[in-house]
Subunit: 198 residues, 2 copies
Amino acid sequence: MKDTEVLQSLVDALKCLPGVGPKSALRLAYYLLQRNRKGADTLSQSISNALEQLGHCKLCNDFTEQEVCKICSSQKRDVHTICIVEMPSDLLMMEQTHSYKGMYFVLMGRLSPLDGVGPKEIHLDRLIERIKSSEIREIILATNFTAEGNATAQYIKELLKGAEIKMTRIARGLPMGGEIEYIDSGTLAQAVVERKQL
Amino acid sequence: MKDTEVLQSLVDALKCLPGVGPKSALRLAYYLLQRNRKGADTLSQSISNALEQLGHCKLCNDFTEQEVCKICSSQKRDVHTICIVEMPSDLLMMEQTHSYKGMYFVLMGRLSPLDGVGPKEIHLDRLIERIKSSEIREIILATNFTAEGNATAQYIKELLKGAEIKMTRIARGLPMGGEIEYIDSGTLAQAVVERKQL
Ligand SMILES: [Zn+2]
Ligand SMILES: [Zn+2]
């Protein structure tokens, strides 16, 4: 008997959030409309701003509203080490360990031939170019310990075979099949410390 | 070391959702940006649409994008019974019991003198007018079983003393201090069936 399409659209849209089913979507909708209209307005605008204004750093692919992100343009980072991660959220997790001071390259994915994701889609051409044009001494492969993440690390290792660069893989302190985004900082920091030469 | 203000604003805004702390706000932000940009866009627009287009029914105060809501303009409802609830979410809960077929009046609050919420703020003048101008035979008081909800029900009962209208209060099948919004449909349906004359 409840009618309003506008309200129903809001409920449906809230279901896009992970872990939000029909019932909690309904609660969230009423919460926003009844108790926190200001917060709802801010949320709507923040999402829209983020979608519009956040682009990718032209060097490392991390989210940024600048052309080059803060890390890539920092004077305080070790420019001779580059850490390769799958997604910006992985980069964030690395930063939160406070144990890594080098540069990054975000693949924005992982090799997945069945889904049509090849070397070009994860920007390996740009990665190679960047490595060639700078004095990289170590590449830390910090893709996930999933089948695809491992294959991606292996592929990059083969690709750079012959280059005089130390290649390491973060240590498997993480559980099998584990995704970096969901690991606690301590475990991840340990994995960086114990990284092994490939 | 992470910079982007746009991203930080999104994280802060997501904290307005109930049960979302700093850590899950960060996860939600990356989820929306990395994995569900379309959903994020829809969410932003749905919130904004809801805030702009949803008004209150001029008869019952429920959320609606029309002047008069679907229930108030329905030909199939029992126009001789009116159920008084605090908030639109309470009305929704009543509807979900499928056990009530009368009309509603949403107070949009409850009496709370310390917060400056008096009879006028909960639209009791309009409620009285509506009751006078229609053939109401029963008023069901379905305010919450909190101190303020009970006081509000009591106040409305006193206000209408002398009118030839049956006044009932939904039965306390709900737990003490319970809020209607958080009760399961079955319990609430039972409470309607067992409503007592005041
Ligand atoms: Zn960058
Ligand atoms: Zn109405």
